[in-house]
Assembly symmetry: C2
Amino acid sequence: MDGLLAHLRQLLGAAGFREDGDLSPWEKDWRGRWPGSALAVALPASTEEVAAVVRACAAAGVAIVPQGGNTGLVGGGVPDATGRQLVLSLRRMNTIRAVDVANLTLTVDAGCLLTQVQAAAEENGLLYPLSLAAEGNCTIGGNLATNAGGTQVLRYGNARELCLGLEVVTPQGEIWHGLSGLRKDNTGYDLRDLFIGSEGTLGVITAATLKLHPRPGAVMTALAGFSDLNAALRLIDRSRRALDAGLTGFELMSAHALGLVQQWCPPMRSPLPATPWTALIELAAATEAQGQRQLEELLGDALACGDITDAAVATSLSQAAQFWALREAIPRAQALSGLNIKHDIALPVSAIPAFVSETHAALQAALPGCRPVTFGHLGDGNLHYNVQAPEGVEPATFLREQEALVNALVHDRVSALGGSISAEHGIGVLKREELARRKSPVALQMMRAIKQALDPQGLMNPGRLLPD
Amino acid sequence: MDGLLAHLRQLLGAAGFREDGDLSPWEKDWRGRWPGSALAVALPASTEEVAAVVRACAAAGVAIVPQGGNTGLVGGGVPDATGRQLVLSLRRMNTIRAVDVANLTLTVDAGCLLTQVQAAAEENGLLYPLSLAAEGNCTIGGNLATNAGGTQVLRYGNARELCLGLEVVTPQGEIWHGLSGLRKDNTGYDLRDLFIGSEGTLGVITAATLKLHPRPGAVMTALAGFSDLNAALRLIDRSRRALDAGLTGFELMSAHALGLVQQWCPPMRSPLPATPWTALIELAAATEAQGQRQLEELLGDALACGDITDAAVATSLSQAAQFWALREAIPRAQALSGLNIKHDIALPVSAIPAFVSETHAALQAALPGCRPVTFGHLGDGNLHYNVQAPEGVEPATFLREQEALVNALVHDRVSALGGSISAEHGIGVLKREELARRKSPVALQMMRAIKQALDPQGLMNPGRLLPD
């Protein structure tokens, strides 16, 4: 171990290696749920240095925890408590390597912040559409390692769909030069998609070639209120048929979720009269006038046939930002009102009404008075279905005592309806055991075989993703 | 071997097992390049029967060649000449299992024809956009096993992007129930995309859940003529910015390619005066009037600034069909004019002008008078860059004597410009050795490790895709 540390010290220099002092920025996740202890922190400045670090660790039998912006929600990017795992931070690798406007591609180091990637696209008159709450702190490498989602998936897909090629350091410390700006390439197994979403357990993503899109001429935002989720499905269907790829977002907020925002984040409040459900609809159009016309026609038809009871179209960018702020404030309002039991589930969109009513009934039967905070990316079938303690029950106690029961109730309904227990946050440490219970044994067996084949020493982010 | 045959005979019954008589429909590829000899042909009627066949073959150590519509171009779906490989045809599994309109998904057996899948979507007012020349004969299972492309990739992606979940029989004869209608699911390694494009070498795809899209209100088609490929890039850029997701096709045809159509497929001919290059542009719009307006504006601007010299917008469905027929007749016109040396290459779109001029110069230097037939899906960077013998040279002789040299010249340029030697046809037998020469050794090593991990007996479509 001492030999390894000395080797890394020399290899990476003072700027690239931290072993003393406060390592907590790399050791603690931001929710503070899995505080770990690192052997040391390597901060390589190039792909070659990453490869050298991995080779040295492989020779010494030391485990590596790759880390980007350390904004993950499932404990996948921080070391465990043993003090024997090396954190490999990609943050110093943050160069925009190349822009190819005619090919609509951007090649970037893994440690670039998501906002930096967005800005590089924008400077070239183009759009990199991945967008999520942590975008100012998360890295593109982390986004790819976890296949991040966010608010534009409905139109543009997850991080997976926005990536054409990768550069990866393998667990053996070799460099796979898989950067590629190709839309089509049928030359063998899809290694790119195998690394995307593998949470650092198969190798280290060091760079990526990303897919860009034209910037829409105008983006319009509206709120619509309605009384039941079947009406929401009809509204989505109507929106898709009317707008096709112009529909870029369809977010859902329950009355309780908006009530929390109003209570904990004043002066924010919905401009609509209270209804059981509110949708935020976002539309991209060639011009503002066209978008306005399309939205008014869409919402007018939905009002006329009774699917929605009220609607508001944002008439300025600042009003559109206010509508989005309502949606984005929900997690903060929830946190301010106390701890809660979080879920990040996906379902077929068609199964959402049944899920919400059945799960609500099951929760009320088991834990009368508990309060689901239902919101999320309805257009993708992705709900953040979080559960608060009943009025008057201490949130921390509720979390401690009821988390297992609530998770079981919620995830049982998810499984029964063909859903996923992790839509966009990944597995990490948090859901490893749950994955073992929920995932098909045949799939788990194939995952283990692939892990064993590519990382036979088991040194890449051990203890994450794959159940023991 | 006799025990296996007796077992399969009993398991599958007369309708499901063929060992005598003419097996040539399953043994010969349609180009007639790799005529094989099968041990027998299994035609299971259910996933359970597929699994039983695979288990029996695994126990007997007999190799399996999965087969769909047998329309492949690279020899990946026919048995070798030894008479020891079992053809496993999925053609009897051809049921549309389920449609979920609200979720925009369709679940189908692997043996459904592509046209059957398209029709099932259409009957529900929706679109399954995969479309290619063999659509009346190829199966969706084959499309997924080879990650098929076609004419709508620019807007909707390859077969990969149009699939949400798979059901697969593993090489051990277990069933992976990976059918899923989820847009988001981050619960472990992306097994779906590993099987897509693996050409039957990792298991047998038995069913899939496919992604549907709204049907556009109107589809418009235009032809535009121009004199150089840099103008084509400007036209693509202009089209993308003006139409965004409305741009569904951008096909390229050289003057020589259109000349072959005029010569060999009369009375077809382009309505435009001859120019070095012609593009076919397809646009989806909400209404015909809107599409007409958008196209006229786009082409008017391109004419005004000199990027194109002439254009024609189809004013009826039959005229649009005539425009497409020109593009689709090129392979037939070529075949009628004699054998040629085919390529299916992908490049960054930005590299296409350099590729075409450099390769043309290299070919003329080496083989004066040889005639490239340049056409393809320019919007995706995918060219079918086929090379004809010089005038007066016997095509078969040219193919026999010069194929290796021409392939080397073409593929060297492709490699130098960061391209792929197989954009949409796959590797099969045809390009296995070329893959060994062109693919990164690190990638090949990972591919071999994955193959070994999932199919340690090496019985799934051996001799295809992976170089020895």
